[in-house]
């Protein structure tokens, strides 16, 4: 249960960083923390008590659930794409406005 609470703290932390920070790079870092917390959640739910890694040894052993791992692999790819696109946009903004602080961007 503790680990779920810790994960929830990570989730809220990411969300707070995205909302409160004005620097766009820090916002992107916040977004990454936010997304990672959900990935960790998927890993947590796949754990089966006393479960072995999901590699077939014999039919009687208990295995952890491999499906969430596969799902989250896709989500990680999506997250990388989002991050790189966001960084590319930040470069473009920096070239146009010479700043990446959001409150300064709103004034111009």
């Amino acid at each position: 249960m503790t680990i779920y609470l810790l994960n929830m703290a990570l989730f809220s932390l990411g969300l707070i960083i995205i909302i409160r920070e004005s620097n766009l790079i820090k916002k992107i870092i916040g977004l990454n923390i936010f997304q990672s917390s959900v990935f960790i959640f998927y890993l947590l739910i796949s754990k089966v008590e006393n479960g072995l890694p999901p590699v077939f040894i014999d039919a009687t052993s208990v295995y952890s659930n491999p499906l969430p791992h596969v799902l989250i692999l896709t989500a990680i790819v999506v997250s990388i794409a989002t991050t790189s696109l966001a960084l590319a946009l930040v470069i473009k903004i920096k070239n146009i406005y010479k700043t990446i602080e959001e409150d300064e961007l709103d004034e111009t």
Binding site: F11, L15, I18, L24, K27, L31, F34, Q35, V38, F41, Y42, I45, P68, L71, T74, A75, V78, A81, T82, L85, A86, L89, V90, K92, I93, I96, L105
Partner: protein
């Protein structure tokens, strides 16, 4: 015939790498418009097939449902597919010159790739029967739409794109977490399977959390009233043709996800009624209609005015859905189709007239009625349709909306709907006055007719046609909502 659902997704996916390898602007345009046309034809064939012989399932790799991934083309999916592919085709057909003039020369082929990927994402969301696939397709369409938005001529367009990226990603992560919660509780990702394995008796914490997370995520995607901020910014800074495309599709797809999740996946526990979510959303939407209509009147820029008007119309659609009656659902579906045609037409007029310009104010339109008589007549028809004058499609939607509200137990809302409809006249009048009763500012503007104007005229004719002959929208919508509520009653 049974391959059509997968073809709609896979054909553009094959075209995308070809465009990337060719790196030629003209060929990429020809390929994208060809594939959109094929998609449109396939969608019509699919709709006919589904109308005749019921749901069409396609199992990917022949793995059967709970284990394999399945595409499910039911009537609701076909209805939205028709809308999406029609709008994509019209915007591409009318938008060749606009795209050439607004987007940077070396980015044009990438622009078409992003456009096709965005359309693939929308079609995938609509067709899939696997809830994790829904998330993946949602991200495909969102990521490509961030790129499309950043290509505007206005210097603030990258800012609009990155702000939409942050809010859109938060929404997507909420949906991802909601899917995880559902998976914890049911152990399956197939939508049909999930809806069978949750029942009113065993509502646990993950299900409740999942409902809440879905609500926020979908609210962001469909611009539900307090979460609508991104829409106005996006619509004012994105390239005009992208705005035209998104006005008819992206928020409508958000509403599709809402229908799928709350009326299909969760139908056994009726979350909208059980937790009083329906009255909550109804209240927010009413507030949204009032405030956004009010804001629309105060706007000076045409795009911002139309954006606020879009939020108001989306709120009407949500109000109709949240009545939780079959009549309400069919009114919402009718309005989704009609509003897409009207708004696409209005944004397209602005896009074809001011090809290389952003921040178009209302006074820029002064005197255009004399110089562009046919185009402006179409614009006028579309505006009148937005107000809901008889003989236009807007009237049909408003009629069904108000009558469905009167039939429900919250009949007093109909007064507010009528009042806000009347308020629409104010901002519509601001436009009409400038167009027809002001002198021309720039007399050099020529009135030579161009091919791309004809699509606006086509949409205006469609708007009148749907106002007189309602077989397509009304009959189909009633059929869909009857199917939905028949399932609910079981």
């Amino acid at each position: 015939m049974s391959q059509i659902p997968i073809l709609i997704i896979i054909l553009p996916l094959i075209i995308v790498p070809i465009i990337l390898l060719l790196r030629n602007n003209l060929y990429s345009y020809i390929l994208s418009i060809a594939v959109s046309l094929i998609n449109l034809v396939l969608t019509i064939l699919l709709l006919q097939y589904v109308l005749k012989s019921g749901n069409l399932y396609y199992e990917l790799g022949s793995w059967s449902a709970p284990i394999g991934i399945r595409l499910n083309a039911d009537l609701l999916a076909c209805y939205f597919l028709l809308l999406i592919n029609l709008m994509s085709f019209i915007c591409l057909a009318a938008g060749k010159k606009i795209i050439d003039d607004t987007v940077q020369e070396n980015n044009i082929f990438l622009f078409y790739i992003a456009w096709l990927l965005c359309n693939i994402g929308f079609c995938g969301i609509i067709l899939t029967d696997d809830i994790f696939n829904l998330f993946v397709f949602l991200e495909i369409s969102s990521l490509s739409s961030y790129f499309l938005i950043s290509q505007g001529t206005h210097k603030a367009s990258p800012i609009a794109a990155i702000q939409y990226l942050f809010i859109g990603s938060i929404g997507a992560v909420f949906i991802l977490l909601a899917i995880g919660m559902l998976y914890v509780n049911t152990g399956t990702l197939n939508m049909t399977d999930i809806s069978q394995s949750i029942s009113i008796g065993n509502i646990s914490l993950p299900i409740v959390l999942s409902i809440g997370l879905f609500f926020v995520g979908i609210g962001i995607k469909s611009a539900l009233f307090p979460l609508h901020g991104w829409l106005v910014k996006t619509y004012s800074y994105a390239p005009s043709i992208v705005v035209t495309y998104f006005s008819g599709t992206s928020t409508k797809v958000g509403i599709y996800i809402l229908l799928r999740v709350f009326l299909d996946i969760f139908h056994t526990i009726e979350p909208l009624e059980y937790y009083d979510l329906a009255s909550f959303i109804l209240f927010l939407s009413l507030l949204g209609v009032f405030l956004s209509t009010f804001f629309a009147i105060r706007q000076n820029e045409v795009n911002k005015m139309l954006a606020y008007s879009s939020i108001a119309q989306l709120s009407y659609i949500l109000i109709a859905i949240m009545l939780m009656t079959p009549e309400g659902l069919s009114a919402a579906l009718i309005h989704i189709f009609n509003h897409s045609i009207i708004k696409t037409g209005l944004f397209l007029t602005i896009a074809v007239l001011f090809v290389n310009q952003s921040n178009i104010t209302i006074s820029d339109l002064s005197g255009y009625g004399k110089n562009f008589p046919v185009l402006m007549l179409s614009f006028l028809i579309l505006i009148l349709s937005l107000i809901g004058l008889p003989l236009t499609s807007g009237f049909i939607s408003k009629w069904y909306l108000v009558s469905s509200i009167l039939d429900s137990n919250v009949w007093y809302i109909s007064i507010m709907v009528l009042v806000t409809s009347f308020m629409t006249v104010f901002y519509a009048w601001l436009l009409i006055e400038k167009i027809y009763f002001s002198d021309l500012v720039d007399s050099k503007k020529y009135s030579h007719f161009e091919f791309r104007y004809s699509f606006v005229i086509l949409l205006a004719i469609a708007s009148i046609f749907l106002g007189i002959d309602t077989t397509l929208t009304v009959d189909l919508s009633e059929e869909i909502s009857n199917q939905f509520y028949m399932v609910l009653d079981k």
